[in-house]
């Protein structure tokens, strides 16, 4: 096919630059906003998703993990006695006060778990180990928050709620959605750091026996353990994400910003493709006059839109990779998994196709007799 679409697109280099800038801006904005949304939602439920538990026992009507109320640890034994339960452990995720070496204070979220098993523990450990937490006053902190908490080296000792806390290891990439970093420690230490009585717990993590239906186990627990909510990990994760993303409006704001990026992209590309179409209107009229069906003319316009989409996306995703990488060095969590990159390519194509619709409408109404006007 004679390269009419490509030649027309590249004929006006300045207009092409404007088109590509618009698409690049839209792609970057959508990537950042959707990436933030994904990062936020992943972060809000990070503790739940990495707990390696099948079920969570929490206080009644808990809306999200940070709002878990305390209940008696006796429920742990009721849980363990329920048929289908392979193991159950107490778990805490509560806020505490961290004192920095310079005298300042920071809010932290203490995560206490049974270090003799795997449920509820940290992940992505880069120095130290879970076994090191068995030593007195031991804690693990993510390296992202060292500067914020005034940590300079392993072995450093701090004060939390009047108790000693000694940094024995670090993780990497465990972000807290709130501004309070996670501090992993034993359940006993966590009780001290968060002023819990010895007979209290905030959650109970449950692992089912192999082959046991989760729904059945959930039902069994609900019938045996009262005044608590029994939630699967998936349910609790989704509730927590929904609360932070939509009930608070944070997620809606981010999604609206992504939508805005798409709208801006559509407007810019519509304008430039339309201007290009108007510049070449006589050619389209000639095509129609010599017998081209409307579909041929549409194909030329859509090819221009498609080429713009591919080039703009390539530029946009390249810029986005730098932005995502830079954000991850900082405090923001912007995720760009490959399915999302593919989705955004589809959105870019859609955006440019919609933008071409105005031009297509114009040439549809074009009277081929216009070619006879000199």
């Amino acid at each position: 096919m004679p390269p009419l679409a490509r030649r027309n697109l590249f004929h006006d280099k300045i207009r092409l630059a404007v088109t590509l800038t618009g698409i690049t801006f839209a792609v970057v904005l959508v990537v950042v906003e959707l990436g933030l949304f994904l990062g936020f939602t992943t972060t809000t439920s990070g503790l739940i998703d990495h707990s390696q538990a099948d079920l969570w026992v929490a206080s009644r009507h808990i809306p999200y993990i940070e709002q878990g109320a305390l209940f008696s640890e006796r429920k742990l034994y009721q849980v363990r006695a329920t048929p289908g339960v392979a193991s159950a452990e107490k778990y805490i995720a509560r806020f505490a006060n961290w004192k920095r070496p310079d005298g300042g204070h920071e809010s932290v979220q203490v995560v206490g778990f049974n270090t003799d098993q795997t449920m509820g523990g940290p992940w992505n450990i880069v120095s130290g180990s879970v076994a090191d937490l068995k030593t007195p006053d031991a804690i693990l902190v993510d390296d992202l928050y060292w500067k914020k908490l005034g940590i300079t080296h392993l072995g450093q000792v701090f004060e939390m709620n009047g108790y000693r806390a000694r940094v024995v290891g670090t993780t990497h990439g465990i972000r807290s959605f709130t501004t309070s970093p996670y501090i992993f420690t034993t359940f006993k230490n966590a009780q001290n750091y968060t002023n819990l009585r010895e007979d209290q717990t905030q959650f109970i993590l449950v692992r089912s026996q192999p082959g046991v239906s989760l729904q059945q186990l959930q039902s069994n627990l609900e019938s045996r353990v009262h005044d608590v909510d029994i939630l699967t990990t998936a349910q609790f994760s989704s509730m927590t994400r929904f609360y932070w993303m939509f009930t608070t409006g944070a997620g809606v704001a981010v999604l609206l910003a992504a939508l805005l990026g798409l709208v801006v992209g559509i407007v810019v590309v519509t304008q430039t493709i339309y201007a290009t179409t108007m510049d070449h209107l006589r050619e389209y009229g000639t095509l129609k006059a010599i017998g081209a069906p409307n579909s041929y003319v549409y194909r030329v316009i859509l090819q221009q839109a498609g080429m713009s989409a591919v080039l703009g996306y390539a530029l946009g995703i390249t810029v986005s990779l730098f932005v995502v990488h830079g954000a991850q060095q900082g405090g923001a969590s912007i995720l760009l998994p490959w399915p999302m990159a593919v989705l955004i390519f589809g959105l870019t194509l859609l955006m440019c196709t919609i933008a071409a619709a105005v031009s297509i409408n114009k040439v549809t109404q074009l009277d081929p007799a216009m070619v006879f006007k000199g």
Binding site: M1, P2, P3, L4, R7, N8, H11, R282, E283, G285, T286, L287, K288, A289, I290, G291, A292, P293, Y296, P368, A369, V371, F372, G374
Partner: protein, 254 residues
């Protein structure tokens, strides 16, 4: 000669708000294969309107139109492009070439519309450019061509797919007289040598002698038709007359 386009009782009226303008009224015309027909007349007389109707670009308000034996009047708007594509080639006053395509690519577009692609399209396009004596300019862009050369490319494009009808609207208006004449000579050759029906709208009376017929249109109607190729009445050779002959009172047979 076989009729390629038959126009009967064609009227074209434009209605815009309260005003009605009749561009053509009751026009009858046949365009034959193998002939070069000129449509002449003053500006606004309806020449281009008639050409547009013959080319199935405009629809007549009333009357009938046959193209290549096919009745066009009842066809829908969607079917008209197919008729144009199958039977008619167009040449425009402003050339209407695609400026971002080379000469050969301009012709290839027309071939592609007729389903001819790839290497075959390239060969045919080059052959058509050769026909119009422009094969050495195949890779040139329109901006690099003279007016006459552009019109030749346009002609080659119009010939893509070997249509039996060629319609040209003021093809020499943007050309100097010498170049314009050479373009029309080419069109005459296309008509005579390839049995094509060629109709040309022009207001240049200097090139009228190139045509086979000149149809004059004024105020939307055909005012005269002059057949330039019918044999002239036999010339009267000089006959020596005697004085007595001059005195003859009755007409003598020639």
């Amino acid at each position: 000669m076989e009729v390629a386009v038959r126009v009967r009782g064609v009227t074209k009226t434009y209605a815009e708000r309260a005003a009605r303008v009749t561009a053509l009224e009751g026009v009858d015309l046949d365009l034959h294969k193998g002939e070069l027909l000129f449509l002449m007349g003053p500006s606004g007389s309806g020449k281009t309107t008639l050409l547009s109707i013959m080319g199935c670009i405009l629809r007549a308000t009333s009357g009938s139109l046959q193209v290549a034996g096919q009745e066009i009047t009842g066809l829908s708007e969607r079917e008209l492009p197919r008729v144009r594509l199958s039977h008619i080639g167009f040449v425009f006053q402003a050339f209407n070439l695609f400026p971002t395509l080379t000469a050969v690519e301009n012709v290839e577009v027309a071939l592609e519309l007729k389903g001819i692609r790839g290497a075959l399209a390239r060969r045919q396009a080059l052959s058509l450019l050769e026909q119009v004596h422009l094969d050495d300019k195949a890779s040139a862009f329109p901006a690099d061509l003279s007016g006459g050369q552009k019109q030749r490319v346009a002609l080659a494009r119009a010939l893509a797919g070997n249509p039996e009808i060629l319609l040209a609207d003021e093809p020499t208006a943007a050309l100097d007289s010498h170049t314009g004449r050479s373009v029309l000579e080419l069109m005459r050759q296309l008509a005579h040598d390839h049995n094509r029906a060629v109709a040309v709208v022009t207001h240049d009376s200097r090139i009228a002698d190139l045509g086979d017929r000149v149809v004059r249109i004024e105020d939307g109607t055909i005012s005269s038709v002059r057949n330039l190729r019918q044999p002239e009445p036999a010339l009267v050779h000089s006959i020596p007359l005697s004085h007595s002959d001059l005195q003859t009172t009755t007409a003598r047979p020639l």
